[in-house]
Amino acid sequence: MFSVLRAIWDNTYGLLVDDGQLAVGAIAALAITWLIAASSSEALRENAGWVLLVLVLALVIANLYRAGHNARRRTG
């Protein structure tokens, strides 16, 4: 039973997370957006979606750049 639950958990986790840093970064970007939307002025709240988009795009490029660097290090 434990192994079945473990397999379900592993598969669900694998469905959403391929690279831990990217997933943590995405959750941080979502949290920042939520905070901006919840605690800022009306104008900032209305633009919170664009803030999220910019954060996520920066995150994706930074994550891929790191992946490229790691790959370069390994290929010598």
């Binding site: 959403l16 709240r45 209305e46 996520v56 994706v60 490229g68 290929t75």
Partner: protein, 255 residues
């Protein structure tokens, strides 16, 4: 909803689900061709039933019980995580850092493993049934996830997402049954890239809506968001191509 609107609304779910059906079909084909069809077909049917229960309970509960803004936040979060995972892998594959997904290779490996296990003709083929059940269930969970995510906006969207997924399933299974060979001609990385960008765009859009952000033109903003992802991905591929020596290939586990 007229037929054209339905077709447009069902397209994202159709493309995303087709990728998953191709992967599941490869495994079921491998089992069926090496060990006979009864057990893998039974396993696939059982997995489809399991999935129907998951979508029926989880999907309906999500749409009817959870308040709309919370649902958008939840689905937006899941879509973003799911989409970024596909987008990242597709970009790494385009840049040559991760090997392309090779259905032919997966098929050959699966056939060799199944043949090695052997089969006593008098017994029910539990191995074949379990392998097919697991493949269809795991890929199907991704399809269920896609349907719930694209359909979370309401009943109309849910119907369109279900229609898209069912159409993809019928077409992929019919093609595989006719060819009796894995669908290697499907441009899987391009599809995964497109779907990853699309899911991530929907994720940003819905999360934004859920927290009260205003999108100019409402859903008309989605193509803009998608365009931003495509530009960023193109930049990333160029960046990675510049970083790596010509012809360098690194396994997925190394990045």
């Amino acid at each position: 909803m007229d037929l054209t609107t339905l077709a447009i609304a069902a397209t994202p779910s159709f493309i995303a689900s087709a990728v998953e059906f191709v992967e599941a079909t490869t495994i079921v084909l491998a089992v069926g061709i090496t060990r006979g069809w009864r057990a893998p077909l039974a396993g696939s049917a059982l997995a489809a039933l399991t999935l129907a229960v998951i979508v029926g309970t989880l999907g309906v509960a999500l749409v009817t019980v959870v308040p709309e803004h919370l649902l958008l936040v939840l689905v937006g979060t899941l879509l973003l995580l799911f989409g970024l995972r596909w987008l990242r892998k597709a970009v790494l594959r385009f840049a040559g850092i991760v090997a392309l997904h090779d259905e032919e290779e997966i098929y050959r490996k699966e056939v060799a493993e199944l043949r090695a296990q052997g089969l006593r003709r008098t017994q029910w083929d539990w191995v074949g049934m379990i392998v097919a059940y697991k493949a269809v269930l795991l890929e199907g969970i991704e399809v269920a996830f896609i349907v719930i995510a694209f359909g979370a906006k309401g009943i109309g969207a849910m119907n369109a997402a279900i229609v898209g997924a069912i159409a993809a399933g019928i077409i992929v299974i019919a093609l595989a049954a006719a060819l009796r060979h894995p669908l290697t001609a499907v441009p899987e990385n391009w599809m995964k890239f497109g779907v990853g960008a699309m899911l991530s765009s929907f994720g940003v859009f819905w999360f934004g809506e859920g927290v009260g952000a205003h999108w100019p033109g409402d859903a008309a903003s989605i193509p803009l968001i998608l365009g931003a992802y495509l530009v960023a991905s193109w930049l990333a591929v160029r960046l990675l191509n510049g970083l790596l020596p010509q012809g360098a290939r690194v396994e997925a586990r190394n990045v």
